[in-house]
């Protein structure tokens, strides 16, 4: 397994613990994936800023990021739904020859060309496929599977009730390259179950967190109002934590709970949850960067753990 981590903007600047826990669980002590470091990435670019204003610039900027990975023989793996959606959509659009030529004309000005990843050679012909853009949830689910993850668990989170929040851009829009079933997604739930915890069912499970599309930036009250509905469903279901695969959803749930002054439910990224289950010391997982204190949850983990 060769992965190139695409960390994006939110994770390193708001939740560095998410990046660290991902590095740790994928690292040699645990899952043993090979990580390829690329230092020339830029913003994915963000959909509300670029895709909404100029599709061409969005595609060119995304293609530039993809070019950096194409010759590294690695899959691009992101821990953020926004980056995932933006880059995946870009690979799809770049399969269109006309669009790809257009983008390459622009990229030529900085000495780059998007071809995709070389699959094989047939005589003089080289066969390329689009750069594989993957979400950490899907990569863990497909490449390691429930068993592969469960085998690594040293500290099962049994007895803990987790509310899973997939986040919109992990599931939608549904296209040819969609990874999970938007009506009944299973991947994140499976990962939570693999960690030994229980994924709780609650109404409106696939609802939006409220932050997306620049709402959080423009009208935070609206974002919080949307979050409130979902929070109430989660709270009523009786859960110990909310687990998501997206730092922006994490940020929204985390922040909104403070703004709304509700009974706090800790919010974790799936990488952090798995790191805890793998027995990584919570010290290293950056929980001090969360607004809602994760300590009550950590206490429960100790209380129910079997180490």
């Amino acid at each position: 397994m060769r992965y190139s981590l695409f960390v994006g903007c939110t994770i390193p600047n708001r939740f560095p613990g998410v990046e660290n826990s991902t590095r740790v669980i994928l690292g040699p002590d645990h899952l043993g994936a090979e990580l390829v470091e690329i230092n020339e990435f830029t913003c994915c670019p963000a959909l509300p800023t670029f895709y909404s204003t100029d599709r061409v610039t969005w595609l060119v900027t995304a293609a530039r990021n993809l070019v950096l990975v194409q010759d590294k023989n690695a899959d691009l793996v992101t821990m953020c739904n926004g980056c995932f959606s933006s880059l995946l959509k870009a690979t799809e659009e770049l399969e269109n020859v006309n669009k790809c030529n257009f983008v390459n004309a622009a990229l030529a000005s900085v000495g780059k060309q998007y071809r995709g990843r070389l699959v094989r050679r047939e005589g003089n012909r080289s066969i390329y496929e689009p750069v594989r853009v993957r979400h950490i949830i899907e990569a863990l689910y497909t490449d390691f599977g429930r068993e592969g993850i469960a085998d690594r668990v040293r500290h099962p989170l049994s007895g803990l009730r987790i509310a899973v929040h997939n986040g919109c851009h992990f599931l939608r829009p549904t296209t040819r390259t969609s990874v999970d079933d938007p009506a009944k997604p299973v991947m994140l739930d499976t990962m939570v179950e693999a960690a030994g915890a229980t994924s709780v069912d609650f109404p409106d499970k696939q609802a939006c967190c409220g932050a997306g599309g620049g709402i959080r930036l423009q009208v935070p009250k609206l974002a919080n109002a949307i979050t409130k509905d979902k929070y109430e469903c989660i709270h009523a279901a009786g859960t110990d934590a909310i687990v998501t695969g997206c730092p922006y959803c994490l940020y929204q749930f985390d922040h909104a709970q403070k703004d709304l002054k509700v009974h706090p439910i800790p919010v974790l990224h799936i990488s952090q949850l798995l790191a805890l289950a793998f027995g990584v010391d919570a010290e290293h997982l950056g929980f001090e960067w969360h607004f809602v204190a994760v300590r009550p949850f950590l206490k429960k983990v100790d209380a129910v753990g079997v180490v």
């Binding site: 009506a183 009944k184 109404p203 409106d204």
Partner: protein
């Protein structure tokens, strides 16, 4: 005027053609052709006056073959050809170029369109010179009919055929006659049970059907039977059945396809939770509940607990219809009507139940629908405009979320029973039968009409009735069946049909009996037989459709399609392409060009 023998007629199509094509220039250009006897331009050749012109002009005897530049040869062309036949022209000496659809309607450039028309007309004249007079093939029609499907349309068609004195075989896949209509608890517009369309029952004795069919000596019912193979051609088809009694063969002259439709599988719209939440049912499930409630009582209960009566019932319309993403694009036409009927039935049995109908548009293009709808409103059924977005479950009750589009408000309400008004879609069996009979399907995968304005126009003795041809209500299926049956009976009463001579013929001296044509023919018209000690291919005139596949396959050029012979087509192509060849200019014998 030239001294040729070809009479040329041009039609302005009441300006439709004249607007985009310079007919004067076209006429002048054609007059120069030495083969042309005269060129006449008329306002409307297919109209009564135009037909008179054709008859009178041809009657003068200056031409022995005719080329017309007008509209489509398949509709109005037939009228014009018939007029000329009345004046003594052999119909195989008539050629028509569609300068309306192929030139006038598709090009903006008037000059270029005129040039194209001129070229096409000249080519047609070149071909016309080589046409030979032929006569139609006459075929006998076997005086028996096969009706595929024993639903309301199939039964009506069989009864109608039997009444006219011909034997009808009903082949039904299931073990009972009656089809879907038999399972309905209420039918529009009488608001009686669906059985009333079928047989005597305690509620109604209006149209006793199943009994009539079973008793009729002229109707033979084959239940639990599947159609394996259909062979033969126009007027005489060999049908292989596979039934409980084993294999059986029928010989029939006409076929009525009444295979009906399937009900949409609601599981294909996951957001409605059919098959997940037990209190979400389809209208077909509700039919059974209502029927039992009426007959035994106490059966109108929530499926989730099997005890309590639902206090609130919500109907969701357009499930699988008008949905180009997860369902079918077409409107199913009957769902508004039957859902309102069911809603009224619930209100009749239990007035205290709240009934809501969620619709996008109320569509009931039927006589009496408005009254039906008004009565439902008066009886307390609530109509909500806005399709339900999703169904969920909370604390053991199903909830629906929707926008009331009249209010512009989102509503999230708890309910006890959600009824999905599932639409009709083409039956899988229908598609198989269509393939066996070489019938075309339309964009919704229903069997396509020959002419959408004229129901029951036949295609080689095959007629389509009822929902196989598109979603329909009971009354309209019956109407359809009647007209299909009448047309089939007429055909059998005539006893014979005329079929075009434009079919394949084999030059037995050239044929080496290789059998490629037999493999290629999808109508089973080509067969290799032994004749005078050598193998040769022969054609069954009744089966051959003149498609030309065998001619293209033949390595020895032993096969010719009459009326589309190699010299005729080559002359045509050379004039279109503007190339010279031995075939061009009127002498086509022994043409060996690459074209054709």
């Amino acid at each position: 005027m030239g001294k040729g023998r070809v009479g040329v007629y041009l039609c302005t199509c009441r300006g439709e053609i004249a607007k985009h094509i310079d007919l004067d220039r076209l006429a002048a250009g054609l007059s120069e052709d030495p083969a042309v006897a005269f060129v006449r331009v008329d306002q409307e050749l297919c109209g009564p006056a135009g037909q008179d012109v054709l008859r009178a002009s041809h009657g003068e005897g200056r031409s022995d073959r005719v080329v017309a530049g007008a509209c489509t040869p398949n509709i109005q062309g037939l009228i014009m050809r018939a007029a000329l036949e009345g004046a003594g022209l052999n119909k195989y000496l008539y050629e028509q170029v569609n300068i309306r659809e192929l030139c006038a309607w598709v090009h903006d450039d008037r000059e270029a369109a005129t040039d194209k028309a001129l070229r096409l007309m000249r080519a047609a004249i070149a071909r016309a010179l080589m046409l030979e007079a032929l006569d139609d093939i006459e075929l006998k029609v076997v005086p028996e009919s096969l009706v595929i499907g024993g639903g309301v349309a199939g039964m009506q068609a069989a009864l109608e055929i039997a009444t006219r004195g011909f034997l009808a075989h009903i082949v039904e896949r299931t073990g009972a006659l009656g089809g879907r209509a038999y399972r309905l608890s209420v039918t529009f517009p009488t608001h009686n049970c669906g059985i009333c369309c079928m047989q005597y029952c305690r509620e109604c004795v209006l149209t006793p059907k199943i009994e009539d069919v079973m008793q009729n000596p002229k109707i033979k019912v084959h239940l639990n039977t599947r159609i394996e193979k259909i062979d033969g051609g126009f007027g005489d088809r060999l049908v292989t059945l596979e039934g409980p009694g084993g294999r059986e063969e029928l010989r029939v002259g006409t076929i009525v396809v009444a295979t009906g439709s399937d009900v949409f599988d609601a599981r294909r719209i996951p957001e409605y939770g059919f098959g997940v939440f037990r209190d979400v049912v389809t209208t077909m499930d509700l039919e059974r509940m209502l029927e039992q409630e009426r007959e035994i009582g106490g059966r109108f209960v929530r499926p989730s607990d099997g005890r309590t009566m639902p206090r609130t019932v919500n109907f969701i319309q357009c499930v699988g219809s008008r949905d180009r993403v997860k369902g079918n694009l077409h409107c199913s036409l009957v769902c508004c009507t039957y859902a309102i009927g069911q809603a009224r039935e619930i209100k009749k049995l239990h007035p205290e139940v709240e009934v809501y109908i969620h619709y996008i548009d109320l569509r009931g293009p039927y006589r009496g629908f408005e009254e039906h709808c008004e009565q439902a409103k008066a009886e307390g059924v609530v109509f909500v405009r806005g399709r339900v977005a999703e169904v969920s479950e909370k604390k053991g009750r199903v909830r629906i979320r929707f926008e009331d589009t009249d209010l512009g408000k989102q509503i999230d309400m708890a309910t006890d029973l959600v009824v999905l008004a599932v639409g009709q879609e083409p039956a899988a069996e229908s598609e198989r039968i269509a393939k066996l009979l070489h019938l075309q399907l339309d964009e919704d995968r229903f069997i396509k009409d020959l002419n959408p304005n004229f129901p029951s126009e036949y295609r080689r003795g095959v007629f389509v009735a009822g929902c196989a041809e598109g979603p329909k209500g009971i009354r309209y299926s019956i109407e359809d069946a009647k007209s299909a049956a009448a047309a089939a009976a007429d055909l059998m009463a005539a006893g014979k049909i005329h079929k075009t001579r434009a079919i394949a013929v084999v030059d037995e001296t050239r044929c080496r009996g290789c059998g490629r044509c037999e493999e290629a023919c999808e109508y089973h018209a080509a067969r290799v037989v032994e004749k005078d000690g050598r193998l040769v291919s022969v054609r069954d005139e009744a089966r051959c459709e003149g498609c030309g596949v065998c001619a293209a396959q033949c390595c020895n050029r032993a096969i010719t399609i009459k009326h589309h012979t190699r010299p005729q087509m080559e002359a045509l192509m050379r004039r279109v392409l503007g190339t010279k060849g031995r075939g061009a200019g009127g002498k086509g014998q022994g043409a060996q060009g690459e074209v054709g």
